[in-house]
Amino acid sequence: MATGETKMSKEQAKPAREKRGVPSGLWLSCEDCGAMIFRKECERLMNVCPECGFHMYLGARDRINTVLDAGTFEEWDADLSPTDPLGFTDKKKYSERIVAEQKRTGLRDAALTGSGMVRARRVAFGVTDSAFIMGSMGSVVGEKLTRLVERATSERLPLIIISGSGGGARMHEGIFSLMQMAKVSAALARYDEAQGLFISVLTNPTMGGVAASFASLGDIIFAEPKALIGFAGPRTIKATIRIELPKGFQTSEFLLEHGYIDRIVQRADLKSEIARIIDYCGK
C-alpha cells in the first residue's frame, strides 16, 4: 500500500527540496520538457511550465492560495503532530526524520486542513503536500482528514481535498497508517449519507494508499494534467510482469480514458471549476 517509488526520480524530488527559504537561482529546468525557465515566470503561473504546460510541484500553502479566496483560509487542527508509535528505524530514526521534514517543509505533517471560501462559497478544505515524507498518510494525516470530513458533515459544507502523495500509506507508522485508509473512508461514507458534495482533486503523484482511499472517493474527481495516479508504483508493476509499461500508463489522461475521473483541469482553472460544480451540486 505504501509505494515509495516516485521518490527515486531526482527530477521530482528537486523542486520540493528547493522549496523553502533557500535562494536557488533565477532559473530552473522543467522536469518534463527540460526547458530552462525563469523562476519568477514559473511562479506567476503557479509552477506550470510556460513552455510545455507541465504541472510541477506546488506546496500545500501555495495550493491554498491558488484555490481559496485571499485571506479566507482558517486552519483547523493545526496543533496535531506525529509520534513514532513503532519506534521505527530504517537507515534513519523515524523520530529524527519527522523533525528534519518539519524543518525542511515548515509543516507539522503532510496535510493542512481548514475552511475557506471558493469564490465566496464556504468549503471544508484539505490538501496533502507531497514533499513531506512523500505526502504519505500516517496517523496525523488520517486524523486531520477524518476530522475535516466529520466537520464538513456536521456543518453541511462542500468538501475539497487536493491529494499529492507518492508515498501512499506511511510505512514508518506501520499498520496504523494502513488503518487510516479505512478510517477516512468510513467518515466519507457518513458524509455521503448526509448528501455531502466531495470534490477530490488528484495531483502529481497520487499513489498507493492515498489513491486507494479518500482520493478515489470523490463524488466528482478532477485531476491535473499528466499527473501520475495509480495503485501500484510503476517499478513494482514492471518488476512483477517484466514487460515495458505502455506510454502514458497511470497518467491523468490514462485514467480519463479508462473512466475513472470526471475532468482533467488546468491548475489555473481549478478554482472556477470547483465553484461551478458547487453551484450544481452544493447547498
Binding site: 521505527f88 506501520g174 499498520i175 479505512a182 498507493g208
Partner: protein, 324 residues
Amino acid sequence: MPGYDFRLPFEQPIFELQEQIETLEANETTSPELRERIRELRKQLTETTKAIYNHLDPWETVQVARHKERPKFTDYLDLVFDEFVELHGDRFFGDDRALRAGFAKLDEYKVLVVGHEKGKTLKERNECYFGCAHPEGYRKAMQKMALAAKYGLPIIAMIDTPGAYPGIGAEERGQAMVIAQSMMEMSRFKTPIICVVIGEGGSGGALGIGVGDRVSILQHAYYSVISPEGCAGILWKSHNYAEQAAQALRITSKHLSEMGVVDDVIEEPLGGAHRDHHQMAGRMKVYLLKTLRELLRKPTDELLAQRYEKFRRIGPYLETQPTG
C-alpha cells in the same frame, strides 16, 4: 501431516526429533527401555515445538504465514462450513479466482463468506495469481456483500493475500478505486461483519475486505502496511533487509493486539496451523460462532456506530497547543 514436505529452516530441531522417533518406532523388537526412550523423545518434541513457536520472530512469522501447507480459504470452507454456494463474477468484467464469495452455513447460521484464495497446485496458484486479487475480485466481493446486507446475512471475510495485484490490467480496471469503495461500503453494510486474517494480511489488498465489526488474526498470521520485502526495497534500498523490515513494522498478532488494531487473536495448534488443519478449523469455528452470537444481539444502529468508532480511534498523534 500427510504430504508435509515443506520445511522451514528454524523447524529443523523439530524434524530431527521426529526422525529419531520414527527410527525407534520402526524397530521390530520393542523393550521397556525403548518405549521409555520414545516417550521421552515425544515429550522433548512437544517442548521443542512449543519453545520454537512461542518465540517466533517477525520474519519467522512471515514464513509460517506463507507456509505452503498452511490451511487456505478453501480448507476453511471444507472444514468449518456445512455448505458453500459459490457466487461467481463481478457483473462487469470477470470472475477473479483470487477472491471468492458465496453463501455458506455455519451450524444454524446462514452467512456470506468472502476470502482470498492462494491455491494449492501450481495450476491453481497461477489461476489466482498466488492470492493477489484484481479489481474484479473486489467488485465481486462488494456486490455479494451488498446482497448479504440486503437479505440480512452476516458476512465473514477471510484475508490471505500478499497484496492486491500490481499489473497493467489491474490499473486499467481501477484497482485503487475498488479498494477504496469496498472499504467505504463495508463501513456501512447493515449486517454483522467478522474479518479474520488467516495468513498474509498484505496491505490494501487485505484491507479491501478488512473493514468489519471484529478484526481478528490467527496467532502466526501477519498484517502489514507493506510487505517486508517491499518496505526493505524502498527504505533500505534492498530486498535483503526484509528481516529487519519485518521487525520494524511490528506485524505479528502479538504486536497488533498490543497496539489495539486487532480485536482477537485466535490461537493456532502446537507448531502452527499447518501441522493440524482440523484442530485449526475447529478453533476457527468456535471463534466465529461465539463472535457471531455476540454481534447478532446488537441492534443495527449500535453495530454500525461501534464499527465506526472501532476504526475512528486508531492512530496515535500528539495534540498540543502551538508554541508562540
